[in-house]
Symmetry: C2
Subunit: 210 residues, 2 copies
Amino acid sequence: MGNKTWTKTADSRSAQREIKRRAVLMAGARLFNDQGYEQTSLEDIAAALNITKRTIYYYVQSKEDILFGCHQLSLEFLGEVMEISRDDSLPVAERISRLIRGYCEWVSTDLGASLAMVRAHSLSPERREALHEGKARVDFQLRMLIEKGIREGVIRHCDPRLVAAGVFGALNWIPFWNRTDRPVPHEEIAEQYLAMILNGLLPGAGGSKR
Amino acid sequence: MGNKTWTKTADSRSAQREIKRRAVLMAGARLFNDQGYEQTSLEDIAAALNITKRTIYYYVQSKEDILFGCHQLSLEFLGEVMEISRDDSLPVAERISRLIRGYCEWVSTDLGASLAMVRAHSLSPERREALHEGKARVDFQLRMLIEKGIREGVIRHCDPRLVAAGVFGALNWIPFWNRTDRPVPHEEIAEQYLAMILNGLLPGAGGSKR
Protein backbone atom coordinates (compact mmCIF):
# COMPACT_ATOMS: atom_id res chain seq x y z
CA MET A 1 0.00 0.00 0.00
CA GLY A 2 2.99 2.24 0.56
CA ASN A 3 3.88 1.62 -3.09
CA LYS A 4 4.32 5.03 -4.69
CA THR A 5 3.28 4.05 -8.19
CA TRP A 6 0.06 2.58 -6.94
CA THR A 7 -0.72 5.69 -4.94
CA LYS A 8 -0.01 7.88 -7.92
CA THR A 9 -2.28 5.82 -10.12
CA ALA A 10 -4.97 5.89 -7.50
CA ASP A 11 -4.62 9.68 -7.18
CA SER A 12 -4.89 10.22 -10.87
CA ARG A 13 -7.81 7.82 -11.00
CA SER A 14 -9.60 9.76 -8.32
CA ALA A 15 -8.77 13.03 -10.08
CA GLN A 16 -10.20 11.57 -13.28
CA ARG A 17 -13.28 10.50 -11.42
CA GLU A 18 -13.73 13.98 -9.95
CA ILE A 19 -13.43 15.59 -13.39
CA LYS A 20 -16.10 13.27 -14.73
CA ARG A 21 -18.30 13.79 -11.69
CA ARG A 22 -18.12 17.53 -12.32
CA ALA A 23 -19.13 17.00 -15.93
CA VAL A 24 -22.21 15.16 -14.64
CA LEU A 25 -22.99 18.02 -12.25
CA MET A 26 -22.60 20.67 -14.96
CA ALA A 27 -24.80 18.77 -17.41
CA GLY A 28 -27.36 18.37 -14.62
CA ALA A 29 -27.24 22.08 -13.75
CA ARG A 30 -27.79 23.08 -17.36
CA LEU A 31 -30.80 20.79 -17.80
CA PHE A 32 -32.32 21.69 -14.43
CA ASN A 33 -32.07 25.39 -15.34
CA ASP A 34 -33.48 24.97 -18.83
CA GLN A 35 -36.31 22.52 -18.30
CA GLY A 36 -36.80 22.32 -14.54
CA TYR A 37 -35.48 19.88 -11.94
CA GLU A 38 -38.66 17.81 -11.81
CA GLN A 39 -38.86 17.61 -15.58
CA THR A 40 -35.30 16.29 -15.88
CA SER A 41 -34.49 12.58 -15.55
CA LEU A 42 -31.16 10.84 -14.99
CA GLU A 43 -31.63 9.49 -18.53
CA ASP A 44 -31.73 13.06 -19.88
CA ILE A 45 -28.47 13.89 -18.12
CA ALA A 46 -26.81 10.69 -19.35
CA ALA A 47 -28.00 11.41 -22.90
CA ALA A 48 -26.59 14.94 -22.76
CA LEU A 49 -23.20 13.43 -21.89
CA ASN A 50 -23.45 10.54 -24.33
CA ILE A 51 -23.10 8.01 -21.55
CA THR A 52 -25.43 5.39 -20.12
CA LYS A 53 -27.55 5.82 -17.01
CA ARG A 54 -25.54 2.98 -15.50
CA THR A 55 -22.32 4.94 -15.93
CA ILE A 56 -23.83 7.94 -14.14
CA TYR A 57 -24.36 5.81 -11.04
CA TYR A 58 -20.60 5.46 -10.80
CA TYR A 59 -20.40 9.19 -9.98
CA VAL A 60 -23.63 9.95 -8.18
CA GLN A 61 -26.29 8.00 -6.38
CA SER A 62 -29.40 9.87 -7.46
CA LYS A 63 -30.79 12.97 -9.14
CA GLU A 64 -31.00 14.65 -5.74
CA ASP A 65 -27.29 13.91 -5.38
CA ILE A 66 -26.61 15.79 -8.62
CA LEU A 67 -28.63 18.79 -7.47
CA PHE A 68 -26.88 18.89 -4.12
CA GLY A 69 -23.51 18.41 -5.82
CA CYS A 70 -24.27 21.29 -8.22
CA HIS A 71 -25.15 23.56 -5.37
CA GLN A 72 -22.10 22.60 -3.33
CA LEU A 73 -19.75 23.17 -6.26
CA SER A 74 -21.54 26.40 -7.08
CA LEU A 75 -20.99 27.63 -3.53
CA GLU A 76 -17.32 26.70 -3.81
CA PHE A 77 -16.99 29.03 -6.81
CA LEU A 78 -19.02 31.68 -4.99
CA GLY A 79 -16.46 31.49 -2.21
CA GLU A 80 -13.80 32.52 -4.73
CA VAL A 81 -15.94 35.50 -5.75
CA MET A 82 -16.15 36.54 -2.13
CA GLU A 83 -12.39 36.36 -1.83
CA ILE A 84 -11.86 39.14 -4.36
CA SER A 85 -13.95 41.51 -2.25
CA ARG A 86 -12.11 40.75 1.00
CA ASP A 87 -9.12 43.07 0.49
CA ASP A 88 -9.43 45.42 3.44
CA SER A 89 -7.09 48.02 1.94
CA LEU A 90 -9.60 48.89 -0.81
CA PRO A 91 -12.37 51.49 -0.46
CA VAL A 92 -15.75 50.00 0.46
CA ALA A 93 -17.40 51.06 -2.82
CA GLU A 94 -14.67 49.25 -4.77
CA ARG A 95 -15.13 46.11 -2.67
CA ILE A 96 -18.90 46.23 -3.25
CA SER A 97 -18.29 46.69 -7.00
CA ARG A 98 -15.97 43.68 -7.07
CA LEU A 99 -18.49 41.55 -5.21
CA ILE A 100 -21.31 42.56 -7.57
CA ARG A 101 -19.25 42.09 -10.72
CA GLY A 102 -18.03 38.71 -9.52
CA TYR A 103 -21.51 37.58 -8.50
CA CYS A 104 -22.88 38.72 -11.83
CA GLU A 105 -20.33 36.58 -13.66
CA TRP A 106 -20.91 33.62 -11.34
CA VAL A 107 -24.72 33.68 -11.63
CA SER A 108 -24.32 33.72 -15.41
CA THR A 109 -22.72 30.26 -15.36
CA ASP A 110 -24.82 27.10 -15.34
CA LEU A 111 -23.72 26.23 -11.83
CA GLY A 112 -24.33 29.73 -10.46
CA ALA A 113 -27.71 29.93 -12.14
CA SER A 114 -28.75 26.58 -10.70
CA LEU A 115 -28.40 27.95 -7.19
CA ALA A 116 -30.59 30.92 -8.08
CA MET A 117 -33.13 29.10 -10.25
CA VAL A 118 -33.65 25.64 -8.82
CA ARG A 119 -35.50 25.66 -5.53
CA ALA A 120 -34.30 23.28 -2.87
CA HIS A 121 -37.72 21.72 -2.14
CA SER A 122 -36.47 18.38 -3.39
CA LEU A 123 -33.48 18.21 -1.05
CA SER A 124 -33.49 16.69 2.40
CA PRO A 125 -33.78 19.20 5.29
CA GLU A 126 -30.13 18.62 6.30
CA ARG A 127 -28.87 19.33 2.80
CA ARG A 128 -31.11 22.36 2.49
CA GLU A 129 -29.72 23.69 5.75
CA ALA A 130 -26.14 23.18 4.56
CA LEU A 131 -26.83 25.15 1.39
CA HIS A 132 -28.70 27.85 3.24
CA GLU A 133 -25.63 28.58 5.33
CA GLY A 134 -23.47 28.86 2.23
CA LYS A 135 -25.86 31.31 0.60
CA ALA A 136 -26.17 33.32 3.79
CA ARG A 137 -22.42 33.92 3.77
CA VAL A 138 -22.39 36.08 0.65
CA ASP A 139 -25.42 38.01 1.86
CA PHE A 140 -23.62 38.65 5.13
CA GLN A 141 -20.53 39.85 3.25
CA LEU A 142 -22.46 42.51 1.36
CA ARG A 143 -24.33 43.65 4.48
CA MET A 144 -21.06 43.91 6.34
CA LEU A 145 -19.57 46.08 3.56
CA ILE A 146 -22.64 48.34 3.53
CA GLU A 147 -22.52 48.71 7.32
CA LYS A 148 -18.82 49.51 7.16
CA GLY A 149 -19.52 52.12 4.48
CA ILE A 150 -22.24 53.72 6.60
CA ARG A 151 -19.88 53.91 9.59
CA GLU A 152 -17.20 55.48 7.40
CA GLY A 153 -19.72 57.96 5.97
CA VAL A 154 -19.14 56.80 2.39
CA ILE A 155 -22.50 55.08 2.08
CA ARG A 156 -25.74 56.83 2.99
CA HIS A 157 -27.95 55.59 5.80
CA CYS A 158 -30.13 52.67 4.78
CA ASP A 159 -31.24 49.26 5.98
CA PRO A 160 -28.29 47.05 4.92
CA ARG A 161 -30.40 43.90 5.17
CA LEU A 162 -33.06 45.15 2.77
CA VAL A 163 -30.58 46.77 0.42
CA ALA A 164 -28.56 43.55 0.22
CA ALA A 165 -31.77 41.61 -0.45
CA GLY A 166 -32.58 44.02 -3.29
CA VAL A 167 -29.13 43.75 -4.82
CA PHE A 168 -29.05 39.95 -4.71
CA GLY A 169 -32.61 39.86 -6.04
CA ALA A 170 -31.57 41.87 -9.08
CA LEU A 171 -28.55 39.59 -9.58
CA ASN A 172 -30.28 36.27 -8.92
CA TRP A 173 -32.95 37.17 -11.44
CA ILE A 174 -30.45 37.45 -14.30
CA PRO A 175 -30.59 33.79 -15.35
CA PHE A 176 -34.40 33.97 -15.44
CA TRP A 177 -34.30 36.39 -18.38
CA ASN A 178 -30.78 36.15 -19.82
CA ARG A 179 -30.54 32.47 -20.72
CA THR A 180 -31.21 33.05 -24.41
CA ASP A 181 -29.36 32.31 -27.64
CA ARG A 182 -27.81 35.76 -27.47
CA PRO A 183 -27.37 36.60 -23.81
CA VAL A 184 -26.34 40.10 -22.71
CA PRO A 185 -22.67 39.88 -21.59
CA HIS A 186 -22.45 39.78 -17.80
CA GLU A 187 -19.98 42.69 -17.82
CA GLU A 188 -22.59 44.92 -19.42
CA ILE A 189 -25.25 43.91 -16.91
CA ALA A 190 -22.86 44.49 -14.02
CA GLU A 191 -22.04 48.01 -15.24
CA GLN A 192 -25.71 48.99 -15.57
CA TYR A 193 -26.65 47.48 -12.22
CA LEU A 194 -23.66 49.04 -10.49
CA ALA A 195 -24.49 52.48 -11.88
CA MET A 196 -28.02 52.11 -10.50
CA ILE A 197 -27.04 50.57 -7.20
CA LEU A 198 -23.95 52.61 -6.35
CA ASN A 199 -25.22 56.00 -7.28
CA GLY A 200 -28.10 55.23 -5.02
CA LEU A 201 -25.91 53.98 -2.22
CA LEU A 202 -23.45 56.84 -2.11
CA PRO A 203 -24.15 59.81 0.13
CA GLY A 204 -25.08 63.12 -1.40
CA ALA A 205 -26.64 61.16 -4.24
CA GLY A 206 -29.97 61.80 -5.86
CA GLY A 207 -31.41 64.91 -7.41
CA SER A 208 -34.66 64.31 -5.61
CA LYS A 209 -34.55 64.26 -1.83
CA ARG A 210 -37.49 62.18 -0.78
CA MET B 1 -85.59 31.29 -19.58
CA GLY B 2 -86.59 34.97 -19.56
CA ASN B 3 -87.74 34.45 -16.00
CA LYS B 4 -86.00 37.11 -13.91
CA THR B 5 -85.85 35.16 -10.67
CA TRP B 6 -84.24 32.22 -12.40
CA THR B 7 -81.66 34.45 -14.09
CA LYS B 8 -80.85 36.10 -10.80
CA THR B 9 -80.40 32.76 -9.13
CA ALA B 10 -78.18 31.59 -11.96
CA ASP B 11 -76.11 34.78 -11.78
CA SER B 12 -75.66 34.49 -8.10
CA ARG B 13 -74.85 30.83 -8.50
CA SER B 14 -72.15 31.62 -11.02
CA ALA B 15 -70.83 34.42 -8.80
CA GLN B 16 -70.72 31.95 -5.92
CA ARG B 17 -68.88 29.49 -8.09
CA GLU B 18 -66.34 32.13 -9.09
CA ILE B 19 -65.73 33.07 -5.46
CA LYS B 20 -65.10 29.44 -4.62
CA ARG B 21 -62.93 28.93 -7.68
CA ARG B 22 -60.81 31.84 -6.53
CA ALA B 23 -60.50 30.29 -3.09
CA VAL B 24 -59.14 27.16 -4.79
CA LEU B 25 -56.64 29.24 -6.79
CA MET B 26 -55.48 31.14 -3.72
CA ALA B 27 -55.01 27.95 -1.68
CA GLY B 28 -53.11 26.49 -4.63
CA ALA B 29 -50.88 29.55 -4.96
CA ARG B 30 -50.00 29.47 -1.29
CA LEU B 31 -49.08 25.79 -1.32
CA PHE B 32 -47.15 26.04 -4.61
CA ASN B 33 -45.13 28.92 -3.17
CA ASP B 34 -44.47 27.22 0.14
CA GLN B 35 -43.71 23.66 -0.86
CA GLY B 36 -43.28 23.77 -4.65
CA TYR B 37 -45.68 23.04 -7.49
CA GLU B 38 -44.44 19.51 -8.07
CA GLN B 39 -44.59 18.69 -4.39
CA THR B 40 -48.22 19.81 -4.08
CA SER B 41 -51.13 17.48 -4.90
CA LEU B 42 -54.78 18.26 -5.52
CA GLU B 43 -55.43 16.43 -2.26
CA ASP B 44 -53.20 18.92 -0.41
CA ILE B 45 -55.16 21.83 -1.85
CA ALA B 46 -58.50 20.19 -1.02
CA ALA B 47 -57.30 19.50 2.53
CA ALA B 48 -56.22 23.14 2.98
CA LEU B 49 -59.77 24.19 2.09
CA ASN B 50 -61.45 21.43 4.07
CA ILE B 51 -63.16 20.07 0.99
CA THR B 52 -62.89 16.79 -0.92
CA LYS B 53 -60.84 16.29 -4.05
CA ARG B 54 -64.12 15.53 -5.85
CA THR B 55 -65.43 18.98 -4.97
CA ILE B 56 -62.30 20.64 -6.38
CA TYR B 57 -63.06 19.11 -9.78
CA TYR B 58 -66.23 21.18 -9.86
CA TYR B 59 -64.04 24.30 -10.13
CA VAL B 60 -60.94 23.18 -11.97
CA GLN B 61 -59.97 20.26 -14.18
CA SER B 62 -56.42 19.66 -13.03
CA LYS B 63 -53.51 20.97 -11.00
CA GLU B 64 -52.14 22.64 -14.13
CA ASP B 65 -55.52 24.40 -14.39
CA ILE B 66 -55.02 25.80 -10.90
CA LEU B 67 -51.53 27.05 -11.71
CA PHE B 68 -52.68 28.70 -14.92
CA GLY B 69 -55.72 30.15 -13.13
CA CYS B 70 -53.47 31.57 -10.39
CA HIS B 71 -51.22 33.20 -12.93
CA GLN B 72 -54.14 34.63 -14.92
CA LEU B 73 -55.78 36.10 -11.83
CA SER B 74 -52.41 37.37 -10.66
CA LEU B 75 -51.90 39.19 -13.97
CA GLU B 76 -55.38 40.69 -13.62
CA PHE B 77 -54.35 42.24 -10.31
CA LEU B 78 -51.05 43.32 -11.82
CA GLY B 79 -53.03 45.16 -14.47
CA GLU B 80 -54.61 47.22 -11.69
CA VAL B 81 -51.15 48.06 -10.36
CA MET B 82 -50.16 49.27 -13.80
CA GLU B 83 -53.23 51.50 -13.94
CA ILE B 84 -52.04 53.60 -11.01
CA SER B 85 -48.83 54.45 -12.84
CA ARG B 86 -50.59 55.49 -16.07
CA ASP B 87 -51.52 59.05 -15.06
CA ASP B 88 -49.70 61.11 -17.66
CA SER B 89 -50.01 64.35 -15.67
CA LEU B 90 -47.63 63.06 -12.98
CA PRO B 91 -43.83 63.42 -13.10
CA VAL B 92 -42.05 60.33 -14.39
CA ALA B 93 -40.26 59.66 -11.09
CA GLU B 94 -43.61 59.65 -9.29
CA ARG B 95 -45.07 57.24 -11.82
CA ILE B 96 -42.08 54.93 -11.43
CA SER B 97 -42.47 55.12 -7.65
CA ARG B 98 -46.14 54.19 -7.90
CA LEU B 99 -45.37 51.27 -10.16
CA ILE B 100 -42.66 49.98 -7.85
CA ARG B 101 -44.74 50.42 -4.68
CA GLY B 102 -47.71 48.72 -6.28
CA TYR B 103 -45.61 45.86 -7.64
CA CYS B 104 -44.00 45.42 -4.24
CA GLU B 105 -47.42 45.06 -2.62
CA TRP B 106 -48.67 42.75 -5.37
CA VAL B 107 -45.64 40.41 -5.27
CA SER B 108 -46.12 40.15 -1.50
CA THR B 109 -49.50 38.45 -1.97
CA ASP B 110 -49.79 34.69 -2.56
CA LEU B 111 -51.00 35.22 -6.11
CA GLY B 112 -48.34 37.76 -6.99
CA ALA B 113 -45.63 35.59 -5.46
CA SER B 114 -46.80 32.56 -7.41
CA LEU B 115 -46.05 34.35 -10.68
CA ALA B 116 -42.55 35.17 -9.47
CA MET B 117 -41.79 31.89 -7.72
CA VAL B 118 -43.43 29.08 -9.65
CA ARG B 119 -41.82 28.43 -12.99
CA ALA B 120 -44.11 27.69 -15.89
CA HIS B 121 -42.34 24.50 -17.01
CA SER B 122 -45.44 22.50 -16.20
CA LEU B 123 -47.78 24.54 -18.38
CA SER B 124 -48.55 23.85 -22.03
CA PRO B 125 -46.64 26.03 -24.54
CA GLU B 126 -49.82 28.00 -25.42
CA ARG B 127 -50.53 28.80 -21.80
CA ARG B 128 -46.91 29.73 -21.19
CA GLU B 129 -47.04 32.10 -24.14
CA ALA B 130 -50.23 33.74 -22.85
CA LEU B 131 -48.61 34.37 -19.47
CA HIS B 132 -45.40 35.58 -21.02
CA GLU B 133 -47.25 38.37 -22.81
CA GLY B 134 -48.94 39.44 -19.61
CA LYS B 135 -45.63 39.62 -17.77
CA ALA B 136 -43.98 41.47 -20.65
CA ARG B 137 -46.56 44.25 -20.35
CA VAL B 138 -45.40 45.48 -16.95
CA ASP B 139 -41.77 45.28 -18.01
CA PHE B 140 -42.62 47.37 -21.06
CA GLN B 141 -44.41 49.92 -18.88
CA LEU B 142 -41.34 50.51 -16.73
CA ARG B 143 -39.02 50.71 -19.73
CA MET B 144 -41.34 53.20 -21.36
CA LEU B 145 -41.31 55.38 -18.23
CA ILE B 146 -37.51 55.25 -18.02
CA GLU B 147 -37.19 56.18 -21.71
CA LYS B 148 -39.60 59.06 -21.25
CA GLY B 149 -37.60 60.24 -18.25
CA ILE B 150 -34.36 60.12 -20.24
CA ARG B 151 -35.94 62.16 -23.05
CA GLU B 152 -37.18 64.71 -20.50
CA GLY B 153 -33.76 64.87 -18.85
CA VAL B 154 -35.09 63.79 -15.44
CA ILE B 155 -33.53 60.34 -15.60
CA ARG B 156 -29.89 59.83 -16.40
CA HIS B 157 -28.77 57.93 -19.47
CA CYS B 158 -28.87 54.19 -19.00
CA ASP B 159 -30.03 51.03 -20.74
CA PRO B 160 -33.77 50.97 -19.89
CA ARG B 161 -34.05 47.27 -20.67
CA LEU B 162 -31.28 46.26 -18.28
CA VAL B 163 -32.36 48.70 -15.58
CA ALA B 164 -35.97 47.42 -15.76
CA ALA B 165 -34.66 43.84 -15.54
CA GLY B 166 -32.68 44.80 -12.42
CA VAL B 167 -35.64 46.50 -10.78
CA PHE B 168 -38.03 43.61 -11.43
CA GLY B 169 -35.37 41.17 -10.32
CA ALA B 170 -35.09 42.91 -6.96
CA LEU B 171 -38.89 42.92 -6.65
CA ASN B 172 -39.53 39.38 -7.87
CA TRP B 173 -37.00 38.09 -5.38
CA ILE B 174 -38.94 39.43 -2.39
CA PRO B 175 -41.15 36.35 -1.89
CA PHE B 176 -38.04 34.14 -1.97
CA TRP B 177 -36.78 35.64 1.30
CA ASN B 178 -39.75 37.42 2.88
CA ARG B 179 -42.24 34.58 3.24
CA THR B 180 -41.53 34.07 6.92
CA ASP B 181 -43.60 34.17 10.10
CA ARG B 182 -42.69 37.82 10.51
CA PRO B 183 -42.36 39.30 7.03
CA VAL B 184 -40.95 42.79 6.52
CA PRO B 185 -43.92 45.04 5.57
CA HIS B 186 -43.98 45.65 1.82
CA GLU B 187 -44.14 49.43 2.38
CA GLU B 188 -40.78 49.29 4.17
CA ILE B 189 -39.19 47.24 1.40
CA ALA B 190 -40.57 49.58 -1.25
CA GLU B 191 -39.12 52.65 0.51
CA GLN B 192 -35.65 51.10 0.79
CA TYR B 193 -35.66 49.83 -2.80
CA LEU B 194 -36.98 53.15 -4.12
CA ALA B 195 -34.29 55.08 -2.29
CA MET B 196 -31.66 52.84 -3.89
CA ILE B 197 -33.22 52.73 -7.35
CA LEU B 198 -34.36 56.35 -7.73
CA ASN B 199 -31.33 58.04 -6.34
CA GLY B 200 -29.42 55.96 -8.82
CA LEU B 201 -31.70 56.76 -11.68
CA LEU B 202 -31.89 60.51 -11.26
CA PRO B 203 -29.36 62.68 -13.09
CA GLY B 204 -26.67 64.44 -11.13
CA ALA B 205 -26.77 61.52 -8.72
CA GLY B 206 -23.81 59.75 -7.23
CA GLY B 207 -20.83 61.00 -5.33
CA SER B 208 -18.62 58.75 -7.43
CA LYS B 209 -18.51 59.35 -11.13
CA ARG B 210 -17.48 56.09 -12.64
